[in-house]
Symmetry: C2
Subunit: 534 residues, 2 copies
Amino acid sequence: MNQNEAKRKITIYDTTLRDGAQGEGIHFSTQDKLSYVKRIEEMGSLYVEAGWPGANPRDDNFFQLIKEQEVPMTHIAAFGSTCKVNEAPENSEILLKLVASGAKTITIFGKAWDLHVRDVLRTSLEENLRLIRESVSFLVKQGHDVFFDAEHFFDGFKENPDYALKCIEMALQAGASIAILCDTNGGSLPKDIALGVEMVRREFAPQELGIHVHNDSGLAVANSLVAVEAGVTQVQGTWNGYGERCGNANLSTLVPLLQVKGNYDVLSDSALHKITPFSRFAAELSNAPFDERQPYVGRSAFAHKAGMHVDAILKNHRTFEHMDPGEVGNERRILISDQAGKANIFERLRRFDPDIVKEDPLVEKAMLEIKDMENNGFQFEAAEGSLDLLLVRTLNRFTSPFEVLDYHVWSDPLRGELDSVAVVKVKVGEQTVQIAAEGNGPVNALDSALRQALASFFPILAESELVDYKVRVLDGSRGTEAIVRVIIDTRLGHEVWGTIGVSNNILKASAQALLDAINWTIWKFDEGARRARV
Amino acid sequence: MNQNEAKRKITIYDTTLRDGAQGEGIHFSTQDKLSYVKRIEEMGSLYVEAGWPGANPRDDNFFQLIKEQEVPMTHIAAFGSTCKVNEAPENSEILLKLVASGAKTITIFGKAWDLHVRDVLRTSLEENLRLIRESVSFLVKQGHDVFFDAEHFFDGFKENPDYALKCIEMALQAGASIAILCDTNGGSLPKDIALGVEMVRREFAPQELGIHVHNDSGLAVANSLVAVEAGVTQVQGTWNGYGERCGNANLSTLVPLLQVKGNYDVLSDSALHKITPFSRFAAELSNAPFDERQPYVGRSAFAHKAGMHVDAILKNHRTFEHMDPGEVGNERRILISDQAGKANIFERLRRFDPDIVKEDPLVEKAMLEIKDMENNGFQFEAAEGSLDLLLVRTLNRFTSPFEVLDYHVWSDPLRGELDSVAVVKVKVGEQTVQIAAEGNGPVNALDSALRQALASFFPILAESELVDYKVRVLDGSRGTEAIVRVIIDTRLGHEVWGTIGVSNNILKASAQALLDAINWTIWKFDEGARRARV
């Protein structure tokens, strides 16, 4: 038996599109859901809980459209609840819509905490057992694979263990293929989870079990791990941990944790390799900011800031890295800040001049300039384009091939489309060009004018695009006249980099960041321009 | 014996200002550190590791200045390392600067993983033991209370347990009052932590021990909890979990977890009550965005979005809340989004009209308007001022007491100070006022002009201030002409609220958000204006 065969298989049930969408600020359109399902194919075989048919037009639409799509690896699950109190399953609008969704796998939740039966359903404990039994049975008879979410199982088990177990028993007897134990309120401790899973296993083994936990105590990842160690084989969670309140168990953390640290068989190695870009994709779709400090997949996850750490990492990576970032498709980063020693700056300068030595006065010069700018509100950690531009300038490998002599902006926001005009005057070599451009808003007008003025000299600029624009007020107490920091992310091909501007005028800060973006594009991708003008 | 006496005391060692500052994007000035130490007094007696004397001028400055300050509750600790290889402690610049800092408590780290001794220190295992022994002994003889951080203890224990234990023994024999077991790389599993702590306890009990872990596997909180359960009495961490790479154990989660769920004696109840505002204060100082999904202290931590959850919460709070948010100074929120059912809207409308019934057509009307605006890029979850304004308008309780007839902005960013001019024309009752105002940047000019034009009519506006300004590009692929969403946070007294504007012109979006902020200020705080004009 080789090592692989010895690993226990853990199935991932991804509820990003359903429970994830219950997180504050998370939204998925029908089209978002379709893109998601298409892209998640690269992660291999897993379950995707895609919505609640009947809850809103977006979800209905999705299940209608997904029928026509080819998704061989992904099992699409529809989510819903048991039928209502005093209702027969065959008359239940909820159950009929689940059946009509066309999903083979249907997950329904039922109450497993007597408090909910009394205070929310306001019915008898017996009636709730009937809802579970008859709802599961009805769906199974229609040919569905039924997953039963035992809502609030752990809270219920604490207060009325017999009843919580009885709810599980009803679902299993009625033909549910798996019972998922839920810590819906996210307040359970690892020892509660271990005990609950063990007790259910004692009653129902070898029945397959799942775990679904929330992060209200910061323990969702640990609680899922504990449940897996206690024997569950299905883990429910969301990418980036989106979900109601503090979110669900974070698959972006859990998957590598189980696979790399726990030695379980979760995804293929090549799929594991894709979880960093996939997590970022999920964030983009959801319209939520990506948490860069996230374990495994965040930009900061393998980013070293303290000078002593950088020094040690360069001697042996294991000294400050618990794993190879490449395994999860992430990468090591050496940060530059006023905490950084020369080792950080030196390491980054070597990208541009492999022969530079640590004692070169340019290393010191770059470090002092960076510290000085950081004192004035710059922050290069998210603006590696501006940082690298500063470094190649320090190495005397780059001077800007153009000069901006002047620019003005007018804006008349009540006018409608193209409500702003920018005039810029630039000098390239001996030529001076003055361009006026309209735009939707003053920043767009300025961007257009700058690009139009420069595009004929540097055609590469037409290929780059601005993909994100962020503004941060550095000293809120000064209101709208505070210093603002603008960070612009630019993409060319597969590369994305940030550039930065700092000013008390948002246009000036934007112009700085735009000019750095333009200069870095030219330096990096227009070899002719770079060589001709150095 | 009452229940309180039975609780085990856990000491908090707060390294936000030192290890926290090694997180990407985290910066503290000397003044920030002084403000922090002053404010943390309200949390009661704990240790604050404030910096590394000698590492940079900010930290030196801090220890110089803190000597003159009164901080009766807080124990200030200075951080550093053992002396260097082949160096006598009395000649060690590191140790001498620690002594000169004047801090009573000194925490030094030493290597406890043989790999580091070989590959980073590049010395013999014996010599490393000498560094630990002599450094601790030197500081103890100078009259300091010495804490020993056993760096990489758990990795070291895995690969060479005898040596890792020997390092601890050296420090304790030399007089360290506590040994802190560190999972510096953050890769250890809860079972590794439990085993490590148990083995150290077996050798050295009843010696006091501490735990210091990182979050690289998403387990920092769980690993700290496991260590406490295994017998450590000091927990090291940072507020909001700031720190190198994925951060340190998050005190904002751990403190309530240990106190409320674990039944340990950590802080007083009144201090626990302050951890939500304190965590937010730490975020403001560090200049990092606050993670609103954080357990216990995040704005989303007790925020309910799904309609069914809201319905249940209104019947019994325990149904979807694992604890009372008030215990940690947080509050329940009912979110309004297109996932929200009528229950959410109804609950919020009742704030303004306690007599409204769920069936009132205005509830439906408000819900449709909100869903329509959210489809167009608005998002009311972070803009409760704009949301409430919409609701009071729906209830016909508010019409704006002024009208903006026109506005224009000019900006000439290369001009220097006051580089922008805004002209606004407003109508209040029968009076029309036209005002031009200069500003630093176009948004500031517009803000000034609007406020100047309205301040004589509504004096309350002079008391409110804009405290944050956020911009988000909604569709990055359209670059600078994309739709932007501006959210402005305004403060008046202790209240802070967000307002929102959406447009492809950043000035127009800003104007919308500013006008909502002004209208909401007037509605909420200027009773005369409100009543006169309804």
